[in-house]
Symmetry: C2
Subunit: 147 residues, 2 copies
DNA sequence: GCTAGGGCTTCCAGTAACTGGAAGGTCAAG
DNA sequence: CTTGACCTTCCAGTTACTGGAAGCCCTAGC
């Protein structure tokens, strides 16, 4: 199929799809007329890229994730280890999104537009370090539990 | 506190913090010596930025999210509507991450490194359109259920 | 006081990941 | 056979940082 179809099916702009080809994330065939020709497999890769990019994985991380497909030379152990690392990252992202959601929900419920200088939700926000950056020297009783 | 502390507490590099100031996401005070001086409130904003940026929200979206704090001029209805939209986006992101995680997990379990040309997980992947791009013309019996 | 070190400042240049636009080839419809 | 949609390449611009230079501030040791 042509790039327009691939774009529609993957949710990625054609520009971006060509860019991904430039940087070696896929190599679609070419038709007689020189147009790019995408297989279903290509579309799946694109869709996977669309999803993982929109969720905050870098292109290089996406390249790793994609290497879990198709790269039949890789050894089981490598694949499994890589996938395990990425699964951990995904779980962390899910937890962070949930905490972000809680923050926002709480905010909607408690801060309904009255003119207060400091928003009480900020404490809440600070209270959940989201498993970050290994043992950061912060967290030293930083917040007075006011309000 | 100085930018170094703010950096450590927020998990953002000092460079990025200055950049966020440049584009108007916060306005820390200045000490006598000209150094930036961050309040706890500033640190919370930074932490919030760190989280939401790492989860795939654009800087402009983060600006909107941040406007839910502190902008006491905004009307309740506006705030609520905006937050509702963002909550929807967050829920969608969580769902996508979960589906991504399922895909990866499934992949780890089923594709343990044997030399097959197409990965069976692709079916799985394609089967979950992840609420995307309205009614895409895809899904037309695309994959033969081999593997 | 003097100097070395680390942290801070601004400014400018570079990178990553697109994104828009020009200039032109291809192709089905009228 | 022309119009319009879609495709091509190439080059320039944008977003969101990131690195590095040049220089000020501040504490510590001699």
């Amino acid at each position: 199929m042509n790039i327009g179809d691939a774009s529609e099916r993957s949710g990625l702009p054609a520009k971006t799809i060509r860019y991904y080809e430039d940087i070696g994330l896929l190599k679609p065939g070419r038709s007689e007329n020189g147009y790019r020709d995408y297989s279903m497999n290509d579309v799946h890769r694109l869709k996977f890229l669309q999803r993982s990019r929109s969720l905050g994985f870098s292109v290089e991380e996406c390249r790793q994730l994609l290497s879990l497909y198709g790269d039949t030379q890789r050894e089981s152990a490598d694949v499994k280890a890589l996938a395990q690392i990425k699964l951990g990252e995904i779980d962390r992202k899910i937890a962070e999104l949930q905490s972000l959601r809680d923050t926002l929900r709480h905010l909607v419920r408690n801060c309904h537009g009255d003119a207060r200088p400091d928003c009480p939700i900020l404490d809440e926000l600070a209270g959940k370090p989201a498993a970050g950056a290994g043992k950061s020297a912060a967290q030293d009783k930083e917040l007075s539990p006011r309000h």
